[in-house]
């Protein structure tokens, strides 16, 4: 393979620098004892202490994580069942219709999703707050799970199912002992994606959150609108650390399942 020219390397480096600069800029100033993001006075951990001393902020962090985990879990169950159901449909037209409907929420602008869910919850009479945020996160995560699980189901060899049935497996056995283990990597990826979508979502949550309930995104938005606060920088430092841990963990797990799969094929 041809080596990259110096100019190409410089370009790539520039892109990486631009991508990471804002993040490191935030983290760098999170250790600043001065009150702004312009001149660095001296090293301090006071902003991190402020995050952990602020019980309201801690509650918001816990809320965010609970919503992400719960909505990810529920969406994974509904989405996996949906994907299994979709592949079992014989009628091609029906199947395509379902798949198109599945993609509506993925391509829809967040603002439209948020606004329409706000109307929906108000009409049904759901109180805005934890419940409405959780339900909408489940709602926009389901199609992602379906899209992650579907390819695994499609690549599955149907003779596996026939063999299981011939050997006397019940429907339940086929599902829990053949299908689910086979599509597990897809389910795992779906859950993980749902989790990240939920943690990152701002626009939809902003519409359906009430007065008493807030997630990290919504809170950062109101803090940022009020001006610069180094507490936000400290939060970003923490978020970056957690993200890195998750990414590294995910990288190794996916590497392991990949090599397992490669061995299984041999």
């Amino acid at each position: 393979m041809k080596k990259l020219s110096a100019a190409s390397k410089a370009y790539l480096v520039l892109i990486f620098v631009i991508l990471y600069a804002p993040i490191f800029y935030l983290i760098f100033y999170s250790f600043n004892s001065g009150g702004n993001m312009n001149n660095f006075e001296s090293f301090t951990l006071e902003h991190y202490k402020a995050v952990f001393a602020d019980s309201r902020l801690i509650v918001i962090l816990i809320n965010t994580v609970i919503v992400a985990l719960l909505s990810g879990l529920i969406a994974t169950v509904i989405g996996t069942l949906g994907a299994i159901g979709i592949v079992s449909i014989k009628d091609k037209k029906m199947r395509n219709t379902l798949l198109s409907l599945n993609n509506v929420l993925i391509v829809s602008p967040d603002v439209v999703i948020g606004a329409s869910f706000l109307i929906l919850f108000t009409m049904v009479g759901v109180k805005l707050g934890f419940a409405s945020v959780l339900v909408s996160h489940v709602a926009f995560s389901v199609p992602i799970v379906v899209l992650m699980v579907l390819p695994k189901l499609l690549e599955m060899n149907t003779s596996l199912l026939d063999a299981a049935r011939d050997l006397g497996a019940t429907k339940r056995d086929v599902l829990t002992r053949v299908i689910l283990p086979y599509i597990a990597p897809g389910i795992f990826a779906g859950f993980f994606m749902a989790l990240t979508y939920s943690l990152d979502d701002f626009a939809v949550t902003f519409f359906v959150t009430g007065n008493g309930f807030s997630t990290l995104s919504v809170e950062i938005y109101s803090m940022a609108r009020a001006g610069i606060s180094l507490t936000v920088n400290a939060i970003s430092g923490l978020v970056f650390a957690v993200t890195l841990i998750i990414v590294i963990g995910y990288y190794f797990i996916s590497k392991r399942t990949k090599s397992n799969a490669a061995e299984g094929q041999r």
Binding site: I15, G79, S88, P109, A115, S236
Partner: protein, 268 residues
Amino acid sequence: MNKKTAKGPLIPYLFWILLFVIAPIALIVYYSVLDLNGDFTLANYVKFFTPVYLKMTLSSFWYAFLITVFTLLFAYPTAYLLTKTKNKQLWLMLIIIPSWINLLLKTYAFIGIFGLSGPINAMIKVFGFDPKQILFTDFSFVFVSVYIFIPFMIIPIFNSLDKMNPSLVFAARDLGASSWTTFRRVIFPLTIDGVKSGIQVTFIPALSLFMITRLIAGNQVITLGTAIEQQFLVSQNWGMGSTIAVFLILFMILTMLVTKQKSKGGRA
């Protein structure tokens, strides 16, 4: 898969589609023909075609177009060069990591970076110029949006470049095509599907951005998204908000049709 598979697993999923895909769209359409008192009216649609809203729609399109073009311009070479690196999956991962940092945090960073006494202005001062107001301009809005969208544009282009058969490029070169011709006639057409997906994930969200406009562009830039948020949460005029949302959905469908990919048999 099998004819005997029960339809049981589909029930919660169908329930979800009915409640969260079909009902919300129906409700948006329903509310778009209601006035503030809840009576039927077409006034919202008439209002959308007044110069105020048309101008806003046009400027929203213009910004979304600019953002998409710049994102593509920077993302394509990046994706291309990434496929040429050793350990390309690792480098791709490093491109993706910033997209996992909360959007709000990244946007907030630019409030400091572009600020009057921020690092960019400090650099401008070093070169002997007066500090400039960068924040709250359309430049800052486009820059931050491009920054946010770049990873989402790189991923599909990277994937389609990665899938491309390299012998086609070698063949073109052997037949005497210059680098530019090879790119224009071979590489780009073969990766057009990736570009199209990249445009989809950039253009539609760019039409509806609202928090970047609020935080970075002051109230200089109003997109369709800003207008919807304004109508729903500030003016409490759900009817007008829904009407704008209906048009946003129509524009979205149009974008999808324009960037539709030729299905090559693969997935049903």
